[in-house]
Amino acid sequence: MTIVGELLARHHERLSGFPAPLEQHYEAGLRALSPRLSPNQLQSWAETGVELTALSLRSWEAAVEYFKAGAELPQSATWDAIETLGRESVQMAGESAPLAVSFLRSSAATMEAVGPSHVRQWADLGRRLYKGNWKSSSLAAQFFDLAPTVFHVLRIGQAARLVLFIDELSRHSYELASACLASAPTVLQKLDEDDRLPFIAFAVELAQSSWADSRLYFERGSTLIQKVHSPVRERYLILSAQVARGHNRSAFQYFEEASASLGELEPDDHHRVIELAEQLAPYSAYAAMDFVTSVPRVLERIRIDELEPWHNAGLRILEASHDGGEAYFRLQSTRGEDILETLSARIELSKIGEIMRLYCKALTGRNVSIQTAESLAEKGIGWVEEHRASTDGSTIFLPEVMERFHEKDENFAAMKVFATHQAAHIEFGSFDFVFDRLGGVFPLRRVAFALAREKPATTDMEEYFDLFPERKLASDLFTIAEDSRIDSRVKREYGGIRRPLARMQQEELAKRPDVRQLPLRNGFVENLVRASLDGVDAIRWPKDRAEAMSRALGLLKAVHTDEAMVEDAAEATLALYEIAISIPNVYENMDEGAWDSVEPMDAGQAMPMQGGESGGDGSQMQLGSSEGSPDDAEYESPQEIDFRGDFKPELVDLLMKLREDAKMGQGGEQSPAQLTPEQLAELLAKSVEIDLDAMYDGDLDASTGMFMNNLMKEAGNPASEKGDQNQPTSDNSTGAGEGEEELIPIVTVYYYDEWDFRAQDYKPRWCAVKESKLEEGDDNFYENTLREHAGLVAQTRKQFELMKPEMFRKIKRLPDGEDFDLDSAIEWMVEKRAGASPNEKIYWRRNKIERDVAVAFLVDMSASTDEEINKREKKYDDDDYDDDPRKYLSWWVSKRRQELTSPPKRIIDLERESTVLLMTALETIGDQYGIYGFSGYGRDNVEFFVIKDFNETLDTKIKNRLDKVTPIRSTRMGPAIRHATFKLMETDAKVKILVLLSDGRPQDHGYGRDRTEKEYAIHDTKQALNEAKREGITPFALTVDRAGHDYLKTMCEDMGYEVVADIEALPSRLPALYRRLTE
């Protein structure tokens, strides 16, 4: 009998009591193992299996798996491994049979993956998850089930970390742990092998700090981490883990944002960025992550090699203060903004727009406004390039940023060159073209050509371009001639711009294509461009055609003179066109020697004869076109010149005409030359300046319609003469001229910094204050209040009347004055007679006393002002009732009646009433005053209601607004104070006072680390008050909050404040206080 048979027989009795498969598997296992194991080993294996069956009621199932595994165990499985497996199974089955089942079920596959020497560790991992309850049991079972795949991607040590993570999660949520475990193999599979451990390590930290994010991490983490350059992934994950270690709830968010940011960067830069971030981590891991997140935004403004100085500056701040450094790297600090600004060589139009506007205004003497080229393209009126400078004759459009040089000054100079060129178009009359006006240099030839035309043109420019059969060529030539005229004029007129302009010209010259590679006519135009860039030396032209070129250069030179006008550029174009058209547009394959530079001809010689050459008797003069030779290449416009931008004289001319028409139309009179849509359409079809396809998608008719609509709209709102109204808020443009109707803005948005006392720095442009007029309510309120407080009103008025200064006050005892002061004069005489030295001050004079006060009242309209003032409340335990319900009832009824006739007052009511009283007082004394309410929610929404602005006079509208002063939302005082300060600064009063009327401490969503934190809000408010003070304003805080002393002490350290303990005294208190403040 074999050992197999013997063992089968030996345990038959024990095993036959269980369902049949048990014994079958037992046999199969025995047979599979018998060749590999010694009889003793085999016997031991069998006994372990039998032992399993006996451990508990259901442990026979484990035994089934045990025997089954025996048959499947890989060849590599040593006896040691098999023995360990058995021992572990027994132990496990003793704790939980199903666990052992799972363990054993996957054991064969797992052993293959993990290797036979790690059986115990692997079993331990599963056991670790098992906590004795069924949930943990199923989790552990899940682990065992997944073990083969897990070990396929992880080594045993790594798996240990994974289990650590799952274990950590399971303490919070088994569902989550289970889900993460289930996805682990696939997630990890996607990662590079080296990244897996750090990935799990971060997961562990995440599980400890914000376990809820773990699932997100498992879902998205692998994709996110792929964004990081692989050599630094591990370091990056370690960095991220540090944030999580700080028990920060938003660790995953940090990770996600930073990863996304890294994804925007060049992979080669990742190393540097991570390295820099690592330097920050010892001080603050948050700062390190914020740094990584901010890098792409920072790099928009500075170059990568400037990143380090920026980082170092931040590091120094971070060393001094964590909060300061963190705000810096979050890009929420003014200091950081300043440093970035200094480092950045980039010039942003939004920052220098105002300077540019003044500059252009100075040059042109007109109210030009400056806007971004993008905004022009958006208008859809013919301009399509979003980055090229241009002008529509009243607004100058410039590129939004300038970063062509490494130095700020140079970029600024470049922007100035751009602006100068556009301004010069306006200043030197590029758009004042008159078709039949004689220029300063050339004779008037174009009129002779015009005779042949049959249709009248809409604009002069159109009429002019209509002369040319090849409009594109003509337009290009005119652009060259006119730009060239403008540039030379600018150089002559403005010494300051000469050098940067010359530099730009040189740069452009260097970028020009090789003339010799172009077909001849293109080459001709190209040479003209070079000449216009002051690059006559760079001209190359076939020797045998030198005369034409020389003449063309002579013509161009003629428009460089002082006398040259736009009409001369037009004449030059005419002559140039004639030359150009005579040159075939073919490629000349000539050797080097055939090309030569060309000297310009003398202007006088270059000028065509009066009457022209192409025409005969003058009556049928016609400009040629290039039709004919089929060898001709198609004419291409020359490469654009950056600083000259987009020159569209025809379109501007049209726009100006439309504007004029619109103005006439508005004036009520019908202009005789009103454009018809047909004319317009025809013009558009002809012009080469408009490329409808480039502007709109879709069919031509629709786009023409849309284009015309836009154009009409643009023209209907004359943009000129509005430049001086500086809109406090607008997009990237400065000045007005956006073309909107002149409506009073309903809401105007202002941006203010906010003080972060932790960082000891401002958060730049942090709060949006939305100013609007308070809506009007009922007018009864104002009158009722006056009636209710009639006595007080009269009294206040009287008091304030007394304050009214005498216009002149007689001042005595002056050394000089209008007349003798009799008393002093007598004293003088007496002393003189007595031989003493008399006092010389014996005159009097009237001095003018001017009361010049402006006051802004800031009324808290937060929700808390809704609170009733329960002063009239009577206590129930007053013994008056003597338990007599009738008495109590009568008291109650009277109370109700009282409440009905005059409802209980709220804080806001008293605030309003006090305001009314004060207004009457202020009207009496004649001080300038503004009354504003504020409320809001969050930093983006600080509502600032104008009840009465400084420049408004007290009328019904304002009285009605008072009725609408109601409790709304939170109290973000800082920005409201800053805005009131701004309002006050706009007045020119000598004495400026800001009175803050509130019912409690400042608080708002996000006004501090959390809702309960008070310091942040108080410090910001204090800072705002300090700012006001620095501007020469006297701030005064008044609160009805009895607990007000706590924070007012901090908030108004050395400023006036008062806590009105008796709220009902407010109406009488406020005017009295004001009197004290200004006396």
Partner: protein
Amino acid sequence: MTQGIEGSATIYASEEYAVHDEPYYLPIADEVELFETAYAQRIPVLLKGPTGAGKTRFVEYMAYKLGRPMMKVSSKTGQEAEHRMPLITVACHEDLTASDLVGRYLLDTDGTHWTDGPLTRAVKVGAICYLDEVVEARKDTTVLIHPLTDYRRLLPIEKLGQVIEAADGFLLVISYNPGYQSALKDLKHSTRQRFIAIEFDYPPREQEAEIIAHEAGCSREASIDLARLGEKVRNLKEHGLGEGVSTRLLVYAGKLMAQGVPARRACQVAITWLSRTTRKYNAASRK
């Protein structure tokens, strides 16, 4: 006779000061003829225009021009001298009262003496009295101006109980800068009604260049550049520059340049400083 030399300065009694050397003045339009005609008819003149445009220089020039042909015997000294048109200029300020113009009692060792104010002196000697920036003065001065500027040509001196009839040569000239006066300080209508107004503005580029070249002694090119600069800066009126840069300042810049100060620096100290940058409150106002 109060004329004398003290130190290196020449001292005149105010009514004896006259313009001795012909001041440089470049007529821009018909202002010289207008003034001459007005003076002949004794019509009071109001000079209206921004500061540094040449109003004062114009008055001096006119005083010189009008005074030259008259040969008279000085009333006080009896000496025969080439009589020049006396010119009394009073810069008005907000504390200038009527008595500052008319005169007052002064105390000295012998008791009180009446001392004539500049206006009284001008009225007595028949000088041109030039009240610079007249709106700055207190309102009570109008009481004096009105009777002097209509057909009466009288100056009442309340404190002395006198009325002085103006001497023949007397003419009141006032200047007025509409640019920077607030509505509070505007010329009263009744006052306006008594003057013809000659408007001054900064001269056109060419003339201004000529003036700068003459006054500053700088090169022709420099003066053209300065005039051009002036024109550009004036385009920026009301942008912290009030009324742009005056010809006077351009002349100063030219003088500095003529002495070798580099052009850029000269313009910085003479012109750029004018632009007080508009107060930038921390309302960063754009997105």
